[in-house]
Symmetry: D2
Subunit: 133 residues, 4 copies
């Protein structure tokens, strides 16, 4: 298992007229989390794309337990529960400063090339993560 | 079952550097679909909010089958599979102009008042939908 | 002068906790307007990009006169005041259903290739627009 | 003059298919900058809203000099060039890690209450800023 923490503040533009964060923004935050986790493991997602590897989202899910509000300082835990294979799953937990759990979620990914064809994950990607499992 | 169709074009701003629509936008589109479905059944979500009823998202999920691209004319089917009770579930299917299924998803909701307390759905809301089931 | 009208409804996700539309969304709407105007003149912006022409934004400005709210049916007038040359300027006016003017704005553009180099507008682009002036 | 610096990384979701940041996101960043500047001067914008003061945007403008890209570490300078009166103007400059200037902009604001009526800025707001000029 690899775990990575991202800290960030809720942006005003992320709220909606319900007066808390619009639920679609958590999906954007999840992305920040997995990119951060990969980075912490020595894998630059920007670098992968430059080599022609894209990692699209196959599936995403989120459960909203409590609202996040403008100005909240949030902590997101991103977890890679298993060594990645053809598919890669990330899990997410978002907490406020009082350590209330606000949201849990996951995303599922695979690799694709610039011609929209499914391809195997880059070897370097698999090797880097193998060390952790 | 109630079914409602929304037609719309992909906005340029909804793409990302993968050259297709960023996955978080589908979650925004789902919202357009359920608001349209409610409207078609005679329920104004804007009106509900004015009366103090909020319908937050408890859960959301999406599976991405094929990418949507800038300029694509999309059709979203929003489905209310069951008469709403304390919880309300919507399902979504998004198709391109060739009728390829691009994405399926769901969202789960309940009602809340302006003080963040869970409340029963408004009677009018339940009655309007009862006619269809 | 070319003028083009776009009609659309405010999305819930476009509001913020001030209870009206977040000002950044008007900038996204302007883009829908100019793409629609080009389309109406026989120019597909998606097509231009496929040929390697990008039309980045050099400058943008907006004045907000009255707020737009969730559910509002808006009409945007996009205006090309002059035949495009090396630079292309669009102007925008957004009205609600009561024809109140909510926002005016403009954007300034030029052409660029995939290597980030400034290039002349495609001939076809200039010719199509010449007819109108 | 007050000056405040915000550092942040470009999010993947902020890019578009032109392969750099969509221009509307800079407008969202400007907002982060002015909220940070107010915070640094002892004024919580969240607190102002709780007291019934809203600070809507009257006008916004941006000039895009060079593109920002995914993963770029950006620095935004937010400047309050003059003591705020009935209107408040902020200026913005965004730099990449090489200190290239990517974007300049401004926003103009006034105060409003929850009934959409123009009101004077809160005294505390004016006093806090007076110290700096």
């Amino acid at each position: 298992m690899i775990q990575y923490e991202t800290r960030f503040n809720v942006r005003y533009a992320e709220t909606d007229q319900m007066k808390f964060v619009h639920h679609s923004n958590y999906i954007v935050w999840f992305e920040m989390g997995r990119i951060g986790l990969m980075d912490s493991a020595g894998i630059s997602y920007a670098g992968l794309e430059k080599q022609g590897y894209l990692m699209p989202v196959l599936e995403v899910g989120a459960r909203y337990l409590r609202p996040a509000r403008f100005g909240d300082e949030l902590t997101m835990k991103t977890i890679l529960p298993q060594a990645p294979g053809a598919k890669i799953k990330f899990e997410y937990q978002i907490f406020n400063a009082k350590e209330d759990l606000l949201c849990t979620g996951f995303s599922l990914h695979s690799f694709m090339n610039r011609n929209d064809r499914a391809i195997k994950p880059p070897k370097e990607f698999l090797l880097k993560f193998k060390e952790y499992f």
